[in-house]
């Protein structure tokens, strides 16, 4: 087991800089999620840690050892790929044993480890099958099993759930969380799905075009996003932003400065009386999901936003409504720099 340190890590392909300079400390046993939109460099960063991409600058150390020039197999990492990347011509057993065999481990030890891992993942009956004969979820488990048997210091997951259907995704997510609980090994997990990030992570790293936007626990990111990008990326539906033109007098008072932007999360907004209203808007679409409703509204200025409410009768389509929110839960950002303003 080991922690991980990234110092000024950079990656460029020729003149194109994919990752500018990233500093990051990951503690031993931590579950870290890299999250960001596609093309933000999160997968590249993971592949650099794995050793599948060369490091253009800076240092990556696992434990106390700088691994920049260490072969991928010797870094003590194991990776679970998005497409599972199981060896199609080998049985599940051989798939899991392959890495250990390459390391010239005696057969009885290999057998012991593979069986133990299969037990943990509940795939013992599948050991003699080939990957072709498995369902998506089973393949995913085998891929995880192949990582477990190597007893790595660090587990790397590259969007492991994106090829699964919705129900299986939730289930596998929970299993990965349990696995982390059980093994206590450092895990790094790449995803573009903020729900996975919020539910799994001890620490989330939000990336945008090769830069770290914010590092923190899920709750920190939710409650005190450092800028408008993080504010919108974390939370679903995403945070609404309002300029001074959208707001009522009370709203202006909350905003304080006309160069600021008011950020309100959909789940914190509700229909209120006229005197408490921060703004008025017209609902133009109401999505009722049973558990809650998403009300899509437009302000007179044309700003579109969403209110998430459990009061199903409060809003009526095309009837202007007074909308307010708890001022304690409002966020302020600078319109120009997009940075958070502390109140």
């Amino acid at each position: 087991m080991a922690g991980l340190t990234l110092r000024n890590v950079a990656k460029s392909y020729g003149a194109t800089e994919v990752i500018e300079s990233i500093d990051l400390d990951i503690d031993d046993g931590e579950f870290v999620v890299f999250v960001g939109p596609s093309g933000c460099g999160k997968s590249t960063l993971l592949r650099m840690i794995a050793g599948l991409e060369e490091i253009s600058g800076g240092e990556i150390s696992i434990g106390d050892e700088i691994v920049n020039d260490v072969a991928p197999a010797k870094r003590g990492v194991a990776m679970v790929f998005q497409t599972y990347a199981l060896y199609p011509h080998m049985s599940v057993y051989k798939n899991m044993a392959f890495g250990l065999k390459q390391a010239k481990m005696p057969a009885d030890q290999i057998d012991e480890r593979v069986k133990a891992a299969a037990e943990i993942l509940d795939i013992t009956p599948l050991l003699e099958r080939t990957p072709r004969a498995l369902s998506g979820g089973q393949r995913q488990r085998v891929a995880i099993g192949r990582a477990i048997v190597r007893e790595p210091d660090v587990f790397l997951f590259d969007e492991p759930l994106s090829n699964l259907d919705a129900a299986l995704r939730v289930q596998t997510r929970i299993e990965i969380a349990r696995l982390h609980e059980r093994l206590g090994t450092t895990m790094i997990y790449v995803t573009h799905d903020q729900v996975e990030a919020m539910t799994l992570a001890d620490k989330i790293v939000v990336l945008r075009s090769g830069n770290v936007e914010q590092v923190g626990s899920p709750i920190e990111l939710y409650e005190t996003p450092r800028n408008m990008f993080v504010a919108q990326f974390i939370g679903s539906p995403k945070m609404n932003f309002f300029g001074p033109d959208d707001l009522s007098e009370k709203g202006h008072a909350l905003l304080g400065n006309p160069d600021f932007v008011l950020g309100l999360r959909p789940e914190h907004m509700a229909k209120v009386s006229e005197k408490d209203a921060l703004l008025t808007a017209v609902p133009n679409l109401i999505e009722n999901l049973g558990e809650y409703a998403l009300v899509h509204c437009t302000t007179p200025k044309g700003t579109e936003f969403i209110v998430k409410t459990t009061d199903f009768t409060a809003f009526e389509k095309s009837v202007p409504a007074n909308i307010g929110a708890d001022p304690e839960r409002a966020h302020l950002f600078d319109a120009k720099t997009e940075l958070r303003i502390e109140r």
Binding site: F98, G99, Q102
Partner: protein, 312 residues
């Protein structure tokens, strides 16, 4: 009228045509193989027309079976086909893996690699036997002559000359000789058909899953282990296809055999049939039936092998 009758009816002309196409020559060959039938005979002019009255029973078959050249022809057919297949698959694999890497000029290299396949077999044979393999005028003769001259010059050196005089004299090989003419055919056909194997393996390599390779790298597999455990199984099906198609084509090798040595030492079944059919059509037909049997034996083996890889 069931809903399958109409499609069947519509298929019938094509099926019947193909059946006739196959059955008529096969039937005629079978018929000729049981009668005495020659193209020219002054002594027995009645044998020059195919007729049931000239019935010979198994006579043609025992004539061919006991013919001096028959077993050599079968041996040569099998020897040449298997050698060519083994060599083209090995070379094809090596070259396909090499050109699958990215390097400047890859497009041109690939086109050049394919080009031998577009040379006519007869031209290929003429070029090889006269310009490359010829012991006097071919590249081989020139290279061996040059080497001998160098060694001769070295023999004249003081001190070291003694060492070189221990070397044996190098002689050029005559590829038209009985012992080597089959080898010459194998060399030229391998040269011509390796591009075919390369082409098929190259397309298959491009569809190989790169993440599997990365997983193998993380599992500590070196280049050979990746090739052995991932690439080779991935190529199982294309290899089977290359083997099967080449077996079909090379069982009927003729032009190369004719041009290299007119069957001297490299006579295979098609060539034997050709020789017999210059006059003795009955015996040629019997040999043809033996060729059909040999092709079927090989086909059964191949279909088993290919079928197995296609099923997994």
């Amino acid at each position: 009228m069931s809903d399958r009758t109409l499609p069947r009816l519509l298929q019938t002309p094509a099926v019947i045509l193909l059946l006739i196409w196959m059955l008529v020559p096969l039937g005629m060959t079978l018929f000729f193989s049981f009668i005495r039938y020659v193209l020219n005979s002054l002594r027995r002019p009645e044998w020059t027309t195919p007729s049931i009255e000239n019935w010979r029973g198994g006579g043609n078959y025992s004539f061919v079976w006991n013919n001096d050249g028959f077993w050599l022809a079968i041996y040569n057919s099998v020897f040449m086909v298997t050698s060519i297949i083994v060599l083209t698959v090995l070379l094809g694999l090596a070259i396909a893996v090499l050109v699958n890497k990215n390097f400047p000029g890859r497009g041109i290299v690939r086109v050049l690699l394919i080009s031998p396949f577009f040379v006519m077999p007869a031209v290929n044979a003429v070029l090889w036997i006269n310009m490359i393999l010829d012991p006097v005028l071919g590249l081989q003769g020139l290279a061996v002559g040059g080497l001998s001259n160098i060694v001769d010059a070295l023999r004249g050196l003081p001190v070291l000359g003694n060492f070189f005089s221990l070397w044996p004299e190098i002689e050029p090989i005559s590829f038209r000789a009985t012992q080597t003419s089959a080898i010459a055919v194998i060399i030229m056909v391998t040269w011509q058909w390796t591009p075919f194997a390369v082409l098929i393996f190259m397309t298959s390599l491009q569809s190989e899953d790169q993440q599997q390779k990365e997983a193998a790298i993380l599992d500590g597999a070196n280049a050979w282990s990746q090739f052995r455990n991932l690439t080779l199984p991935h190529l199982g099906r294309p290899i089977a296809i290359v083997v099967m198609i080449q077996a079909i084509f090379h069982l009927s090798l003729y032009a190369e055999v004719e041009i290299v040595s007119r069957g001297n030492g490299n006579k295979n079944l098609p060539y034997l049939i050709g020789e017999l059919s210059t006059n003795n059509i009955g015996a040629a037909s019997a040999a043809g039936i033996f060729a059909v049997i040999l092709a079927n034996i090989i086909a059964i083996f191949l279909l088993r092998m290919v079928g197995k890889t296609l099923m997994d």
